[in-house]
Amino acid sequence: MQLLAAAWALVQSATLGGRPRGDIGVFEADEAALPVVQAALHPHTLVLTNLFRDQLDRYGEIDIVAGRWRSALRALDATTAVVFNADDPLVTEVGRAHPGPRVPFGIEDDACSLGTLEHAADARYCYTCGIPYVYRTVYFGHMGVYRCPRCGTARPTPVVAASDVTQRGIEGSAFRLRSPWGEARVRTALPGVYNIHNVLAAAACTLQRGIPLDAVVRAIESFAPAFGRAERVRVAGREAILLLAKNPAGFNEVLRTMLRGDGQQVALIAINDLTADGRDISWLWDVDFEMLAGRVRRVIVSGLRAEDMALRLKYAGVDPAALELRRDLGAAFDAGTAAANGSPLYVLPTYTAMLQLRAVLQRRGVVRGFWDD
């Protein structure tokens, strides 16, 4: 399937004569398909962003996925550069084994620290010793500055780094981009610490390929949120902000982003348990919904597992009187914008719930199909 998708992406961007348009191809590979895709493409650069457990019930265990990545890297050309997230210990463990060029990226700002490890932290065990890492700094989930107390394995110093980070809630963030290819202050419209990692991954990948710093900065600053990643939608004068939520660490970040706004918020949380969402929804109990208690005016729950979500919020201490269950996503959206009454409605859907909601909004002429983006 993944090979077909990669081949189709090539065909779609080719001329009638069968030559690919453009000079650089960017391929997103499903975590489990990485070995097959990289063997077929022989990439100049391999970018490893992070590894969360939202795919756990498809592949069993995170270690199994990491094992496939390790075997994929062993088959890489020695000239291929591996760009990887130094703040993710599992990704780092895979990336640092590459004998060729390595470009670790990460955040260098203790002010981004959460203080303590979240319940959402997944891959925080030393690969050599199996015991938990000790964290000096936690950015979110298992991302941070870590060290094994037994063997001393520690986070590598990032080659491409973000320092002096200013987080501006839903408006995105700004930081100093540091690299051997130059330094610059950049602003991104993408909110949340996880998006700083995404921006760093893109910057590290392009800078090490020789693309000039000013072109990289322009691309970062002009990139607008798309497809449910902090996408803003206006319906009849009312604003909704779509924030995709697909794993505990990401969900926590989305909740913190939402709560940085003024006053009490109104949220629509839509949880599906289809294959693309992960069929196991027990991860909802690793999200720190407790931070919503007393800070939301109303929460509408929807999706195939709406009842599970409502129950989770009850045990998180959210006032049951503030909860409303609406199975139908369109009706849930309407109830949400009505309750928000002029202030923005935060929509937090899992992946397929977001596709369904976008389909509803598209029928109403509010958003374009995602294939038009």
């Binding site: 457990r53 756990l56 019930d57 069993g60 265990e61 995170i62 270690d63 319940h119 065990y125 199996g130 015991i131 938990p132 348990d273 069929r279 196991d280 929804i281 027990s282 991860w283 909802l284 109990w285 690793d286 195939l304 597992r305 709406a306 009842e307 599970d308 409502a310 129950l311 989770r312 009850k314 045990y315 049951p320």
Partner: protein, 246 residues
């Protein structure tokens, strides 16, 4: 009245929203005016029989399970046997459940010797065998035939010996081994199961059953006041429908 809970290996065995089980036990006791204390015991920490009314062990990946197995047997095992013999409740889910048995035999590598609180063994049939993954519904004779709902995700196949009874019979899903329709195991006040989801929030009857047993040890027979379980029941029933069992 107070309830003393002990979370074993919270940093190693915590894979599937396991803290939801402790949240549920704690809230359901507190909502009835019962004081709750939760303590954690990690690798190397001793436990003392008599200190706690209920011990909880969650699930983990292979590496962490191996570390916990050695510690469970060598450091905490004798005290846990003594505690369980004196009526303390032990609840173990998934990987923790496997460790309560006699051994876990991986597809390669050495056996993990279990703590032997439950008469059962677990074997992994090899890397080519399919994992048992999906929504699961069981019917439990320990709860007057009530249904329990959850999600299972395990490679190991568990078989019960004569001194353990199943927690329930599989209505939908795989259960202990995908063959004999049993799920989980019970022996006295020791409970093990593959159901996570997590287990207790959507199965409030089981949660209250465990709280009642745990309180009995120091406070004698207790009648728990009823709670409004409307949301719990709706989530339970929705999970039954989602599993295809109805």
């Amino acid at each position: 009245m107070d309830l003393r809970l002990c979370h074993l290996y919270p940093d190693l065995l915590n894979l599937y929203g396991d803290r939801g089980n402790l949240l549920t036990l704690a809230h359901r006791a507190e909502w009835r005016g019962i004081g709750v204390r939760i303590e954690e015991r990690r690798l190397g920490d001793p436990v003392r029989a008599g200190d706690h009314d209920l011990y909880f062990i969650g699930g983990g990946e292979d590496r962490q399970q191996r570390l916990a197995a050695e510690d469970l047997r060598a450091v905490k095992g004798p005290a846990l046997h003594e505690a369980a013999g004196a009526g303390a409740v032990v609840l173990a889910v998934c990987g923790g459940y496997q460790l309560l048995g006699h051994y876990y035999r991986p597809s390669d590598g050495e056996d993990l010797v279990g703590v032997g609180l439950l008469d059962l063994t677990t074997e992994h049939p090899g890397p080519r065998a399919r994992r048992l993954i999906g929504n699961i519904v069981i019917r439990s004779p320990h709860l007057d035939g009530a249904t329990l709902v959850g999600f299972e995700n395990h490679g190991g196949r568990t078989r019960l010996g004569p001194r353990a009874s199943a927690l329930g019979q599989v209505v939908a899903g795989f259960g202990n081994n995908g063959e004999d329709r049993t799920e989980g195991a019970v022996s006295g006040t020791v409970y093990g199961t593959y159901l996570h989801g997590p287990l207790l929030p959507k199965n409030p009857r089981l949660a209250d059953h465990l709280i009642t047993m745990a309180l009995r040890r120091r406070h004698g027979p207790v009648d728990l006041a009823p709670l409004d379980d409307g949301m719990e029941t709706r989530a339970h029933d929705a999970a039954v429908v989602r599993s295809g069992a109805r």
